[in-house]
Chain length 383, copies 2
DNA sequence: CTGAAAGCGCTAACAC
DNA sequence: GTGTTAGCGCTTTCAG
C-alpha cells in the first residue's frame, strides 16, 4: 500500500550504481565499505596490527589478547569484510576460475558447468563464465579474462577448435589452462576427457549383443570428440563387418533438428540400419523424434544409443540408452590439474594419465553404458 | 627455439601457478606480466605519462606525438595488458556481473544464463556465476561475491525463496541487486519478470478456443512464479466454470519425473481433464512422457501447454505448445536496471513498469503463445 | 608537454 | 607486542 517510489530518472549522465532504494528499517547500506584503516582508527592500533589479527596469520607473532579482542570486536561491529581486490593485487589468488564454454545452451555443457561449479566451490573457488559463443565470437571473452589474469586458472569446456586465435592467445598467458571435454586432440594443454573409444565400443558391443549388425553413426560435436567417436565407430564396424557400410555415417551439427534430418537420410539407405549410435544425446533426441515422425518405431524397428546421459535422456520417449561419464570426478580432476594442488581428500581422483605425442597429459575417464528403453533386440528382418 | 625462461622459484613455498610446460616454438610465457613501469623504463618516460597515453583519457592534456608513438610501440612490443585488479582497486568498475542461479541444470535457466551472458557482453561485462544450488547451499556463494564487491552488480536468476539468509545478506550490500524470473513477489529489490498472468490467460484462452473446459494445472517452480501462474489459472477457471475443478491442480517439484507422476494422478480423476497447463516446460516434458506411458494420446485425448519455450520444446513428441518470453530483452532490461545506465541503442527496451506495494519496481514482459503439436481440439467425449 | 608524489586496501620486512 | 615503512599496478592531482 505504501506509495510506489519512482526510480530517479537518470538526468544526463546516469549515476553508475543505482542504489537499492532500500532504506528499509535496517540501517541503509553504508556508502563506503569498511576498511582495515577504519578498524585501526576505531581501536587506536596500527593497520598492520589489525591485519595480523584479522588474518591470525603469523601465529608466530604473539598479540596481546586484549588488543586482539578489541580489534576483533571492532571488526564485527563495523561489519568489516576484506577487499579481495586488494589482496589479489598483492599476489594472493583471486579464487576465481575462468570457464570458457562454447555453448551453455547445450544441456551437456549446462551439466558440465554445474559439475565444475560444484567442485570448484568445494575448494572455495568461484566460476567466471566466459562465453565462447559458438563460432561467432572473436575469442575475446577469453582474451579479456586471460589478459586480465583475474582468474587463477582457466578451464576450457568443450571443443574450441573453431576458435583459431583463442589457443594462440592462450599459449602466452600467465594462467594455467586445462581443457575439459574437448577431445584429446590438442596436445599443448593438459586435458581431461572421456574415453570416447571405450564408450563407443561399449555402445556397439551392446548393440551387437542384441543382434544388430547394420549400425549407423550420427556425428555431431565438432572436431575433437566427434573424430574420436567416429573413428572408434569405424574401427568397430570394420572389425565387425569388415567395412563401414556405405551411407551409414551422417555428419551434422549438434542439434536435435539435425538429428532429425539425419534419421531421414539414414532411413533412405538400403538396407536400412537397425540401430544408430549418436555421438551425442542432443542428437539422439532429434533422432528419436525423427524416427517417430517418419513412422519408424523405436526400439522395435530401430535402436538408438546416445552419448552423455544428459538429464533429459531418462525422459525421452522411449527413454534413451546412453553413455554416462563421471562428471563430478572429471570436473574435480580438471580443477586439480588447473590449480595444481590437491586439497581434496574426499574423492579419490581416478582417470588414466595418457602420455601424448606433445607435452601435456590427458586424463581419460571411461563412460558407463546406461541401458534404458531405446535399444532392443534387432528386428530379425533387419539383421 | 629460445631457451625456456624459468620462473625464479620462490624458495620453499611451492610456486602457485603450475606453468603450462608449453615451451613450444613460440616465446614461452613470461614469468611476470608487463606493467606500466616496464614501459616507462623501456621508453624513458614516467609512469604517469605512460598511463595518460595508454588511456588517451585526458585528451585535454596534449602529449608529444613522438613520445606517444614511442610508448605505444613499446606497449605493443612488450605485449602490455592493463591489470584490471589494480584499476578496480582505484575504484574503476570491475566489469563483472554476478549471477546467482538456483539451478543451471534447468534448461530454462541455462537459456537464461545464455541470454544474460550475451547481453552482458554487449556492454563489456562478464558474468560471474554463483550457484545457489537448490536448497542445499548456504547462500554463501552469494555472500562471497557480494561481500567481496568484486561485481559491479548482482543478478538473481530464479526464485531464491528457499534461501532465507540470502536476501538479508543482500540488503546491506554495496552492490545493486536485480531479480530476474524470480516471481514478482519480493518487493525489496527491483525485478524483471514475465507476465505470468497474461501468459496463463493466453494458454487457457487457446485451450478454450479449442473447445476445452476440463483444464488441469501442474505447478512446479517454487514460490513466486508458481503462485502467480497458479493464481492466474484459478482465476481463469473460475471465470470459465465458476470453480476450480476438484483434484485438477497438482503441485510437484519442477522435474520431468514429477511431471510424469502428476499426469498419472490427473488421469485418475473423473472426469479426466482434456488439457493440462504446465507451469513449466520441464514439467511438460514429463507430462508428455507420462501420458504416453499411461497410454493417453497427446494431443488426441489430452492437450498439453508448457511455459518457457526451452530449446527442447520444439523437439518433444509431439512438439510442445508453450509460452515464449523475450529472453534477450528481459536480460537486457535486468542488466540495465542493475548497472543503471543505458548505453545500448540497438534494442528498444520495453516491458511495463509496474509499481508495487513495496518500494522497488518490477518490469513485466508478456510472453507469446507458440502453438505446436501438443494441443488440439477437445475430444468431444471429454468436453 | 611531462614528472613527482600520493593513495586505492592490504601485507610483509624491519624496526623499536 | 606493536608501529613504520614500503610497495603491489594504476590513476590523478599538482608542479614544474
Amino acid at each position: 500500500m505504501a506509495a510506489g517510489l519512482r526510480a530517479a530518472g537518470p538526468g544526463d549522465e546516469a549515476p553508475i550504481r543505482a542504489p537499492l532504494e532500500a532504506g528499509a528499517d535496517r540501517p541503509p547500506a553504508r556508502a563506503r565499505p569498511v576498511t582495515m584503516k577504519d578498524i585501526a582508527i576505531a581501536t587506536g592500533v596500527s593497520r598492520s596490527t589489525v591485519s595480523r589479527i584479522l588474518n591470525d596469520a603469523p601465529l608466530t607473532v604473539p598479540i596481546a589478547a586484549e588488543t586482539r579482542e578489541r580489534v576483533l570486536a571492532a571488526a564485527r561491529d563495523l561489519d568489516y569484510r576484506p577487499n579481495p581486490l586488494a589482496r589479489a593485487l598483492r599476489g594472493a589468488p583471486t579464487m576465481l576460475l575462468g570457464a570458457i564454454v562454447r555453448d551453455i545452451t547445450d544441456p551437456f555443457f549446462a551439466g558440465a558447468i554445474e559439475a565444475v561449479s560444484v567442485e570448484a566451490r568445494k575448494l572455495g573457488y568461484n566460476i567466471v563464465l566466459g562465453h565462447a559463443h559458438a563460432q561467432a565470437t572473436e575469442a575475446h571473452a577469453l582474451a579479456t579474462m586471460l589478459e586480465a589474469r583475474q582468474c587463477d586458472a582457466i578451464l576450457l569446456l568443450g571443443d574450441m577448435g573453431n576458435q583459431p586465435r583463442l589457443l594462440d592467445d592462450l599459449r602466452d598467458t600467465h594462467v594455467p589452462v586445462v581443457a575439459l571435454w574437448q577431445g584429446s586432440e590438442l596436445d599443448l594443454i593438459p586435458a581431461v576427457n572421456v574415453d570416447n573409444r571405450s564408450g563407443i565400443a561399449a555402445a556397439i558391443g551392446h548393440l551387437v549383443a542384441l543382434g544388430h549388425r547394420r549400425i549407423a553413426f550420427v556425428g555431431g560435436r565438432l572436431l575433437g570428440d566427434i573424430r574420436e567417436r567416429q573413428a572408434a565407430y569405424a574401427e568397430a564396424m570394420i572389425e565387425l563387418l569388415g567395412e563401414v557400410p556405405q551411407g551409414y555415417v551422417q555428419l551434422v551439427a549438434n542439434t536435435p533438428a539435425d538429428g532429425e534430418a539425419a534419421v531421414r537420410a539414414l532411413m533412405r539407405q538400403s538396407p536400412r540400419p537397425t540401430a544408430i549410435v549418436a555421438s551425442t544425446d542432443v542428437l539422439a533426441l532429434g533422432i528419436l523424434r525423427g524416427a517417430l515422425v517418419t513412422g519408424v518405431r523405436v526400439p522395435a524397428e530401430l535402436s538408438v544409443v546416445g552419448f552423455d546421459d544428459i538429464p533429459m535422456a531418462a525422459f525421452t520417449v522411449p527413454a534413451l540408452t546412453t553413455l554416462r561419464m563421471p562428471m563430478a570426478e572429471m570436473a574435480a580432476a580438471a580443477i586439480e590439474l588447473a590449480i595444481g594442488t590437491t586439497r581434496r581428500t574426499d574423492v579419490e581422483l581416478s582417470g588414466a594419465d595418457v602420455p601424448r605425442n606433445g607435452r601435456a597429459l590427458v586424463r581419460l575417464f571411461r563412460p558407463e553404458l546406461v541401458v534404458r528403453e531405446s535399444t532392443y533386440t534387432a528386428d530379425p528382418r533387419g539383421a
